[in-house]
Symmetry: C2
């Protein structure tokens, strides 16, 4: 017999709509970033995380965690970012298995150049369409889902730089962070 908990009509409509919204939204974000800054959104996120880190430097594994990237993905990505001259890797003395990833000045510049367009896109595709109440609801729903999907109350973040942090207007935040953490 059939144990499947099928979706009722409402749930189906919701799922479909949700799916459509997200495809459309992320397609635009991705395309804008790709066309104007030659980088996929995943790379943008990596640069953002590095820009927010003390000394713009992070261990590979930590970077992978904070940027929601698999180890493998991050390795490939950083290899490419290194080719572009935006990131540098250096061995870690404490733990000889480890590697440091450091955001170069060129990488910072690339990020600052990419940020305005990206933020504008995010605003256009998301926030401009929603009322304040809807925005609040979206926030609540997203938080619930993140909690649910990580099945920890918040996140498996450890000591420094807890996870859910600034993202979009990276450059601004990053500049501040960089200034704050001391160049």
């Amino acid at each position: 017999m059939d144990h499947t908990r099928w979706l009722d009509d409402d749930e189906q409509q919701t799922w479909r709509s949700f799916l459509t919204a997200h495809r459309l939204l992320f397609e635009r974000v991705e395309r804008e970033l790709q066309q104007t800054s030659r980088m996929p959104h995943a790379y943008y996120e990596i640069l953002v995380r590095l820009s927010e880190a003390p000394d713009r430097t992070l261990r590979m594994s930590r970077l992978a965690d904070t940027s929601l990237s698999s180890r493998s993905r991050l390795s490939h990505a950083v290899a490419r970012l290194e080719q572009a001259g935006w990131v540098e890797r250096s061995p870690c003395e404490d733990d000889r298995r480890g590697q440091w990833a450091h955001l170069t000045d060129a990488g910072m510049a690339a990020l600052e150049a990419a940020a305005p367009g990206h933020v504008e896109t995010v605003r256009q595709v998301l926030f401009d369409a929603l009322t304040p109440a809807q925005t609040a609801a979206l926030r609540e729903i997203s938080d619930v889902l993140v909690g649910h999907l990580t099945d920890g109350p918040v996140w498996p973040a450890a000591d420094d730089s807890a996870c859910p942090q600034a993202e979009a207007d990276a450059a601004a935040t990053a500049a501040a962070a960089a200034a704050a953490t001391g160049a």
Copy 2:
């Protein structure tokens, strides 16, 4: 000077959370489908749309539209689905530029085999986490975004099979649809 409409703290948190939720959610959906049914979610969607079509057959361009796929992507995808024996292509007599895509019995069987696991996953990652009010809010937000991002009141769907339609529990719907539209 700086014309960028930067995100304020709240907006940033919302965007970040939204991003995280979606990465986590779709990663799970994708992985489940890939591991248990050997197909990416995009292919699943294609099979669903075909299963819902009269005679389980659709023109390539229409299929591309309803499955939110670029022409190119669809061509590649259908090529693969054809290799798997799940879809067949045949030239269209009315318009000799055109091609029909038809869901084979094997394809239908594959879809029916994949559906329960997929639906269960969707329920687990999404609906199980949300209250009815949150689900309703999600639906509303998604609808707004879809409207916003297609900048048409609803969708550029033409004659038959308007766009936002059933998806997840495809097999059930499909069986019904197939029965209804007459085999």
